[in-house]
Amino acid sequence: MCITDFTKPMNTIELNAEIYRQIGYLADDKSYLEKALEMLRGLTRIKSTAQARGREYTELLESLSDFQDYEQGWDGEDAAPLDKTVIRHFKDVLQKSCDSDLRGWVIFPERNGTLFMQNEQYNAGINIGQKDYSYYINKDGKVIGENAKKFTPKAVIETIRKICA
């Protein structure tokens, strides 16, 4: 196998050649080829989605992907990984929202496996749990919010629109 210097930046033609070269090394192993194909298909899906949606959508999806790698005890103690249902809920919210709904929002994992959406501009937050969600908005030193609201993607999107109205 030839050694390529990956520290040097490559142009598109060189990258193309490198991909073919690396696939060539795997060409005699069916299981590795299948894995490579699956990964490439995944990238194609991400590319087509990213093109269809705005920067906010892509950045939130990237953050979610980072936080999905947080394992049990990620805080150095006993923090839970992001709950699978919560991840699904958040992806549903992303998919059913407009790009303008997502403007200004960032996400963070919570120690109990839930997901916190934060909007600094509106001084607001939404916490998505397995079955429910809570939200607050801080206006002129007064905190308005609700607890234990039944989760549906539509309900969360309506809350986002209420906050950002």
Binding site: Y70, G76, D83, Q118, K142, V143
Partner: protein, 149 residues
């Protein structure tokens, strides 16, 4: 008990590099831990010469490596205005950490305790909105002067 003057700064140690994402402190770094029934958020007083050594003396282990600290002004913490919520910083010095202090939050005169009334660590339900908003005010102040060690 001595009163910490408003002019003092305190530092909140940030453990685990995962507590900072793209330069932003995770709100979880300012949570009262339910499993310890914490009733204050630990900080060290930067007016003590030993404050940095005191941070380093806090035990580290796998997944709990010291990332850095966030500087916060005591007066700024006390000045947070929010309905019936009062923020205070009080000394919590002990034989090992002389500079130790704690941020105490009370709602309607009742001191907040980790896990009460917020959801417990096992509970996958959304957390109490009042708690989320209280915590966020501290994160906002901390974010401005986050330092890596």
């Amino acid at each position: 008990m001595c009163i910490i003057p408003d002019s003092e700064d305190v530092a909140r140690a940030i453990f685990s590099p995962k507590m900072v994402h793209r330069g932003q402190i995770l709100p979880a770094a300012f949570e009262l831990r339910p499993q310890l029934s914490e009733d204050y958020i630990s900080v060290v007083r930067m007016s003590f010469e030993s404050w940095k050594e005191d941070i380093y003396s806090i035990p580290q282990r796998k997944n709990r490596q010291l990332y850095g600290y966030a500087e916060m002004n005591v007066g700024e913490i006390r000045a947070i205005k929010k309905d019936s919520v009062i923020y205070n910083v009080v000394p919590k010095d002990n034989a090992i950490i002389k500079s130790h202090a704690g941020i105490i939050v009370s709602v309607n005169g009742e001191t907040l305790v980790g896990g009460l009334p917020i959801s417990t660590i096992e509970d996958k339900n959304a957390q109490n909105f009042m708690f989320l908003s209280i915590r966020q005010e501290l994160v906002k102040i901390a974010q401005r002067r986050l330092k890596e060690l």
